[in-house]
Subunit: 233 residues, 2 copies
């Protein structure tokens, strides 16, 4: 156990929970950061609390940053969320939120500096994803380079910061397999972009489709309660 503090970005979804579980396995003490950014799927905030509890984090900060003030995404406005479509990684969909990961990582950077933490974990992955630019390895590398010029800790203390994206090269199926090995309880998570008022996933948005495919490829059933029509198909 390394005992070092790490900031983990926790959305309440499958990926961030698995990334945080990997950080825990490496012996980090976890400081979880969840951003309420004006997303329509606030259900994921509740999930993040359950996940933080299950992970045994030292502290969980929920921070409000209303990105809906800028608009530009179907996750923060009344634009419709795409449903039941083949996912084309060359076409960035309307669920892309401008600069979201940059804002999240910047906030994680601020907290990391105060904690004297040298490590930030984020659950982005470049394979089974929706083509978002801020989920690619070159982006994460550029953020890390910038972060190492941005803080007093890095500049005065020579305290180099690492952005860990341990899921970067994994498919959704591989992520789930790894999570199951680590004892991750995926029933606590929420991945849907457009859940029903009772919190049930739609089963048809890109995120639900990728997730269901990942479970199917592992021969495991997804513990979430999808609508009957989906379960029957």
């Amino acid at each position: 156990m390394n005992g070092q503090p790490a900031v983990v970005l926790l959305s309440g979804g499958l990926d961030s929970y698995t990334a945080a579980a990997l950080a825990r396995e490496q012996g980090y003490t976890l400081h979880a950061l969840t951003i309420r950014y004006g997303q329509r799927h606030v259900r994921e905030i509740e999930s993040s609390r359950a996940v933080a509890l299950a992970l045994g984090v030292v502290r969980h900060i929920e921070l409000d940053v209303d990105l809906s003030a800028f608009g530009g995404s179907s996750l923060t406005t009344e634009m419709p969320v795409p449903k039941d479509r083949p996912i084309d990684p060359d076409d960035i969909p309307s669920t892309y939120v401008p600069a979201r990961n940059t804002v999240f990582l910047s906030l994680a950077l601020g907290w990391a500096e105060v904690l004297k933490a040298r490590d930030i974990f984020i659950g982005v992955n470049a394979l089974d994803y929706s083509g978002y630019p801020d989920c690619r390895p070159e982006y994460i590398g550029a953020f890390e380079a910038m972060a190492n010029l941005a803080t007093k800790a890095a500049v005065e203390g020579g305290q180099r910061l690492t952005i860990h994206a341990p899921l970067m090269d994994l498919t959704k199926a591989q992520i789930i397999r790894r999570g199951v090995e680590l004892g991750v309880d995926y029933s606590l998570t929420s991945s849907c972009y457009d859940p029903a008022p009772d919190g049930r996933p739609c089963g048809q948005c890109d995120s639900c489709l990728l997730r269901q495919k990942g479970f199917r490829e592992n021969g495991i059933s997804d513990p979430l309660p999808y609508p009957q029509t989906q379960a029957a198909s």
Copy 2:
């Protein structure tokens, strides 16, 4: 007049107003962004409104991002603000707010993308400043490189983004001289880290000292109402 939209970060202080006035002079249509980050000197938010009005911005967004949740700065906690001290640029003071400019620029980046703006203006300067790491040219360059990998606009649209820091190489005196030429009304601004309850500047914090020195070097009197003891000295 170039007529292009630009996002300008507006704190309510002297530097950001001057940087925005330079953007306006270059013909940009200004979209002003002010962050309420939990600073004790909320007076500067009121100043930012007056400045936005004076600049004739198209829109002014005030966004809440409570960086005091992380602590670590005398601007967001009960730590005392340093007063009446010689300013040593090699010593980063307690008024440094962890990752503040990174958070601000990230938010500006999100708005810029929605606006299809390619230009962001920030009033940082590396000469007469307090030694903050996120005010140096190498930091701004690294942020720009990261930003150009982060967004759909940059990746899909080839829409290169520029972070303008037009005050970077100017002394405070040079900034004020340029601002006066542009018709900037510095009586609208607020620079103090620790103003009195009625909004008057303390006259003793690093920011007040740098500002007063800048006016003095120009042979102009600072329009702000400093305490009598200062005015007499």
